[in-house]
């Protein structure tokens, strides 16, 4: 089963650094999200059930570690959007942002560099 948006917020904490205790996760995410302790615990349990994180006992508490890799999650999500909205092709997506004037100078510079590199490794 897919991992939800609220769950992904918790995963994000673990992707930045792991293992972590529930308390640490709450500290990092509670204020910004306006979540109580119970909320974070629930999300962690759902993530456990979904095998997206692993919990290892450490005295009276647990240390949580991500099992699902961020790269994997990002890939799924990105491919989903690309397929649904852009026929599975990257160029139209970029064209969309370009038309929307959402390409920063930095973006453009980085894209140039990226294409250049692809060129080079071409032989």
């Amino acid at each position: 089963m897919a991992i939800s948006e609220a769950e992904a917020v918790v995963m994000d904490v673990l992707w930045r650094e792991a293992p972590r205790t529930a308390e640490e996760i709450l500290a990092e995410v509670g204020p910004a999200q306006g979540w109580q302790e119970g909320t974070v615990k629930s999300l962690l349990n759902r993530l456990l059930r979904k095998k997206a994180v692993h919990a290892e006992r450490d005295g009276r508490r647990y240390l949580y570690t991500p099992l699902l890799a961020r790269e994997q999650y990002v890939s799924q999500e990105s491919k989903g959007l690309l397929d649904r909205l852009f026929g599975g092709r990257v160029a139209p997506l970029v064209a969309h942002f370009s038309e929307q004037r959402k390409l920063s100078k930095k973006d453009i510079a980085e894209l140039r560099k990226l294409l250049k590199e692809l060129d080079d490794e071409q032989h």
Copy 2:
């Protein structure tokens, strides 16, 4: 309120051509999706409530027209993903697909052209 994935399938039909009757929508989407008539009707009603489509009576039936523009929907969805996963920047997204070897030759060619055009209009 956001429009769901099943609702987006219906919108897609209307974005391709509108106005359309419920029957036409069902014909176009039912087989592929495995949906019954009632399902499509429900989705249309939810879209009406969300003001994403407009219905105009035509004799005994209704003609449905999109109110939400595809461009708008695509923008919201794309920006959402970009913000959640790539810090709101396009280049990292493209880099991700590049690393994943998901850039086709065609994509690369189109991206080149796009950058060239941006260059030109920069004058």
